[in-house]
Symmetry: C2
Subunit: 242 residues, 2 copies
């Protein structure tokens, strides 16, 4: 069995954002990213700060850990990163989870395709807006989207764009218009990833949410969009592993 | 055209809860309810306190108001109450909205069936738990569910139970087990519907959310459930018309 670099496994908890917001789930977070977004809220997965926590694990070992932690109290597993799409060996984990009857979710920025995308129940492509400092390769994203649609996965895929400012909102519009038939989510950016006061953080996050709702409400291009916060940040602040 | 008793029309805003949480939408709120839940957060629709605001409107008049308010900035209309399922004449509104290309959502407690349920894109049945003081007629709810499933509407329907205490949570489990193939949402109850301090309210609502997440995480019967707050209460407090 291939090895997968894992930085944390936790849950059960709820999915805090995106297309299955609120869903009870376990999390497997893989290490490594091909991006370095300025506001990355999981920079510990790629910037070396948590490199001693990375374990090289087989799919079977990950499943063992999930069951040890979650017992019979979960049906759904979310794989996040970093960018899990860097990891070819994830196919073994996804197949194993499906064999055990678990549904799976995965989020990636859409910089790389993997055949096992076709096996994910809830796949979120989250291309990064200008404020991240990254540049989207739309040739790659078009190709990923085409393969998913050709593979009959339209209803299993969503797009999500994090928005920090109006330039990001324009970028989000372009992404939505480019793939009009794919479920589209907007999420206000958390520019306070080091804020330790949960009450302050809540109020700031809810103000950003209100701001993004107002932009969306005014924009006729966004009539089909959904605007959602990060529930885990509202409930638990910037803590890891919840 | 039949007359529909309307208490408010507002938007565009976002749907704050349930199966299409975050969706940009307009709201039409009808007057009248066959229940009187102890903690009803829209008691003004049925307790007489806003009876001077009730207008008897035709479907065409409602559409005119929606377009006057929302212009070309909406594709989705949510009908809420009270209990809109009391109003036979809603079929004309729903047919008209569909003809105009709008998607529709509607929430009802599930005490009465209407044939036009089969035309709703996002239908939420929200049976009321013991803390409401109401008693669910499961014969009626079973019948509604059967008609919806026989009508091929499984993917357009969800169940949502508001939970104030552990007894409500047990009730929610029973509802979920009774209709295991229907998407199931849990929502923490807002027992502070008169709290005017938004910061206090936020913290109380998020504490209730955390409490409900913990119950859900511990319960293997709730592995497929989704736990969601009321976003509008978090952002705008107990204000009406947002
Ligand atoms: S793509 Fe995601 S994990 Fe990678 S740097 Fe950007 S935000 Fe962080
Ligand atoms: S069913 Fe809904 S509108 Fe009617 S009393 Fe209960 S909470 Fe209020």
């Amino acid at each position: 069995m291939k090895k997968i670099p894992v930085i944390e496994i936790f849950g059960p908890t709820i999915q805090g954002e995106g297309m299955v917001i609120g869903q009870k789930t376990m999390f497997v977070r893989t290490a490594g990213c091909d991006y370095s977004c300025s506001w990355c809220d999981s920079a510990f997965t790629w910037n070396g700060s948590a490199k001693d926590e990375i374990k090289q694990m087989t799919a079977a070992e990950i499943l063992d850990d999930l069951i040890e932690l979650g017992g019979d109290r979960f049906n759904h597993v979310t794989i996040s990163g970093g960018n899990p799409a860097l990891i070819r060996g994830l196919d073994e984990l996804i197949i194993l989870l499906r064999e055990q009857g678990f549904r799976t979710a995965l989020e990636t920025q859409g910089s790389r395709y993997q055949d096992w995308f076709l096996l994910i129940d809830d796949l979120t492509l989250s291309p990064k807006p200008p404020s991240s400092g990254m540049k989207t390769n739309f040739t790659v994203l078009d190709d990923i989207m085409k393969r998913l649609i050709d593979g009959g996965r339209k209803d299993n895929v969503s797009l999500k764009v994090v928005v920090f400012n109006e330039e990001d909102f324009d970028y989000a519009k372009n992404v939505h218009l480019r793939y009009p038939n794919i479920s589209f989510y907007l999420q206000p950016g958390n520019d306070q990833v080091n804020e330790q006061n949960d009450h302050l953080l809540r109020n700031q996050l809810l103000e950003k949410l209100e701001w993004l709702i107002e932009l969306t409400v005014l924009s006729k291009e966004m009539n089909d969009a959904r605007v959602l916060p990060q529930l885990h940040a509202l409930v638990w602040g910037n803590k890891r592993g919840v």
